[in-house]
């Protein structure tokens, strides 16, 4: 019990310390930390539409994060969120370009499914490479991130570019405005809150159910804990490693299609850089998942926190006239403190165990 409280308390404490660091930076810039905090809270939660914007920002993080929990629980390190987001976005864009006249109630689910399929393929490739050829998945997913960014740039500058950009000669790498039938319906008028938000939450719940309530998830976790024991019990390690990566990628792929069809522009656009389209959601999603203790449901509030950081930072910048880089730095500091809180938590629990506050189950004795 105490352990559970501690488990939740330490990362929160880490976040508080991180914000204290942010306050020092604000002071150094000559701004008031209190005003800064106020501006951030106001920017993130100050009104219905701001809250909606925060939720929309958190959506890709929830999806990528929930996917990451599936991969990490299977002991596969998926760093390929970026490539999977891009693949999902590209495939769903192609679907919307090919079948623009389908009615919305068919086309919206279809583009989301296309996103899932695209992401699944980009997950399954490094998954299968690891399972069948022992290729390190960290390397292969990072490399595929680079490959997919360039592939996206190629498509958006060439085959998929908006014909108008060619005519006008401006050549902005973006698609034409996609079919309105594919646009994610807005849930509350006057806000940006679209159907992608509940889709992400449902996906996170589904990830939870898969991992802990289905035979498939049982096998994934078994492989994650002990590939040897899983194998001896008749569970295919290769198949499940590939599956974990495919599932993980499919959630990131959905995030990709939401980034396209939930955007105001209703088109896929890049500035040529990796983050230009994804906003680094493929990496921030990993952080959200880790902050959520690799639990799909805890990933939701965790992603909301990072979404709030993103939207709050915009307001911070506007009100206090501090550089935009401060928000990025603040984000980074939160990440560092949260990640490094894990060993602190372990240390705290151990020393509490030594003082006899814990039962022996938390601390095995090495005797004989």
């Amino acid at each position: 019990m105490l352990k559970a409280v501690l488990g939740a308390l330490v990362p929160l404490l880490a976040a508080v310390v991180a914000f204290a660091f942010g306050a020092i930076m604000l002071l150094a810039l000559g701004a008031s930390p209190l005003e800064g905090l106020n501006a951030m809270l106001d920017g993130a939660f100050g009104s219905g539409s701001r809250l909606a914007a925060t939720a929309v920002k958190a959506t890709p993080l929830i999806l990528v994060g929930a996917g990451i929990t599936i991969a990490f629980r299977t002991s596969v390190i998926n760093i390929g969120g970026e490539s999977q987001i891009i693949a999902g976005a590209l495939l769903s864009t192609v679907v919307a370009l090919t079948l623009p006249d389908l009615p919305a109630f068919i086309l919206v689910p279809l583009v989301l499914l296309a996103g899932a399929a695209g992401g699944a393929v980009l997950g399954a490739i490094p998954g299968a490479l690891k399972a069948y050829a022992s290729v390190n998945e960290i390397l292969s997913t990072i490399m595929l991130n680079l490959v997919m960014v360039q592939f996206m740039n190629f498509l958006l500058r060439g085959p998929l570019i908006d014909p108008f950009e060619l005519e006008a000669g401006t050549r902005i790498p973006q698609t034409q405005r996609l079919s309105d039938n594919a646009a994610l319906p807005t849930l509350i008028d006057g806000t940006r809150l679209h159907i992608g938000v509940p889709v992400a939450i449902i996906a996170a719940v589904a990830a939870y159910l898969i991992l802990w309530r289905t035979p498939t998830g049982f096998r994934l976790r078994a492989v994650g804990h002990s590939p040897e024991a899983a194998r001896a019990a008749g569970i295919s390690v290769k198949r499940n490693v590939t599956l974990a990566m495919a599932l993980s990628g499919s959630l990131a792929g959905i995030a990709g299609s939401i980034l396209v069809f939930g955007s105001e522009g209703q088109r896929m656009v890049t500035d040529g850089s990796a983050a230009g389209f994804t906003g680094s959601a493929g990496f921030n999603g990993i952080v959200a998942a880790l902050f959520g203790g690799l639990h799909p449901l805890w990933t939701i509030p965790s992603a909301m926190l990072f979404g709030a950081l993103l939207t709050g930072a915009t307001q911070l910048q506007r009100v206090l006239q501090v550089p935009a880089a401060l928000a990025v730095a603040l984000n980074g500091i939160v990440v560092i403190f949260v990640i490094s809180s894990t060993p602190v938590r372990g240390w705290l629990q151990r020393s509490l165990a030594d003082s006899g506050l814990f039962s022996r189950s938390s601390n095995r004795v090495e005797a004989d």
């Binding site: 159910l209 309530r213 289905t214 035979p215 049982f218 096998r219 976790r221 078994a222 804990h225 002990s226 040897e228 024991a229 899983a230 194998r231 001896a232 019990a233 008749g234 569970i235 295919s236 165990a353 030594d354 006899g356 814990f358 039962s359 022996r360 189950s361 601390n363 095995r364 004795v365 090495e366 005797a367 004989d368």
Partner: protein, 513 residues
Amino acid sequence: MGPETNILEMRGITKAFPGVIANEGIDLDVRYGEVHTLLGENGAGKSTLVKILFGLYQADEGSILLRGEPIAVGSPSEAIASKIGMIHQHFMLVPTLTVAENVALGTASTRRPFTDLDVVSRRVSEISEEHGLAVDPSVEVRRLAVGERQRVEIIKALYRDAELLVLDEPTAVLTPGEVDDLFVILRRMADAGRGLIFISHKLREVMSLSDRITILRNGKVVGTTTPDETSREELAQMMVGRAVRLTPEKPDMDVGPARLEVESLTIHGDRETVAVNDISFEVRSGEILGIAGVSGNGQRELAEAIAGLRVGEPGGSIRLDGVEVTDKDTRSRRDRGLGFIPEERMRDGAIAEFTVSENMVLVDHASRQFTSRGMLAFDAIRRHSRKLVDDFAVKTPGIETPTSSLSGGNIQKVILARELSASPTVLLACQPTRGVDIGAAEYIHTRLIEQRNLGTATILISEDLDEVMGLADRIAVMYEGEIVAVLPAEGATREGIGLLMAGVVEPTAQTVG
């Protein structure tokens, strides 16, 4: 030799870990020139006690007198300086270095900053000769057999002038012949006036080697006795705290049809060497085929091939219940009725982080019994686990307890329960009681025999000759990847099998089918 008779006295040693008192007021004295055995089950506190002696742990209470002088051992290097030597169960040797280099490691050279390997070599030869150890100082350790490596460890201790030697389960890795050789060496060292602490749970060895035996149970001394005053049965009873049946009762069975047939099976090991060479045998319904052999003679590879975890060379065949499964994976072999108790229970047998309940259904989690509408049926799983925990007397706080917090014997019972509850037609049991308490081992043996009586064809791979001889109906002896003999258990002798295990094939040894 000092005027007093005891080289070591440990008085009132108490050591507590969170939730466990590993040692509680333990008194132990070791005389000059005696082999003093510490006997006890896992968790009885033997290792903790000698780790305190060797400076790896600090006692909470109690004192240690070495040669009559009170000492405080703060670290292993202080222990070595006090002429205490320890032979660990797992050798602490660098395989790519020579014997002399291994001995010199960690000692100061007489010619610093240069090495004095020639001096070390000469000294090693002297020690080797003096104690009948027969070890060449210039040979690389990786070229040595297990028994020889152990003698290098002994030389290391003697080189450091150890007068008190602790041997932690030294016979676990040896053949019966090597054990005999070791005992001669140990006896000679004791006769030279050294004090030896011998840790073991093998009653036969304890009876043959010890001068005195101190039995520990639950961190306390149960008693100290001598082999003349006691018997194996009495020792077992003192260890466990109740009467124990050392040889299981085994009714005669009529064997049925062959359930497992292995034909011309050749397996390459991890280093591309031939681990199993053209083996053929069969196991019939209602019999236990014991496979005896020193570890590393192909048993592991054979077991993995039968379980579907390792692929044999083309041309060999494995049939389960008459059906060819050579190219089938573990899953389909299990679906055909194979039960598998792996040798390394914590690596292959159970998932430490999973709950007892999850491990109980590790194999059958997707069966109709444990699923409903695509989801795991937790009620059914819990009911099943609770029943197995009761049926197999698994000592656990509950079925949702992480398996890692169970003792080795209870984890093995979880695996046994899982595998037997599937009513296997063929059961592959590898080292089913290795490192398991006598009480749990007795229970596991009973269950294996019950399963045999139900008609299961069992293949028992074990390095414990007593276990093989007590359980098996037929005994196959493996040596260097081949089955050198198959004998009926009835009439087989320890000595005969021991010779076969060492590769000595007597012309008179009768080989049967």
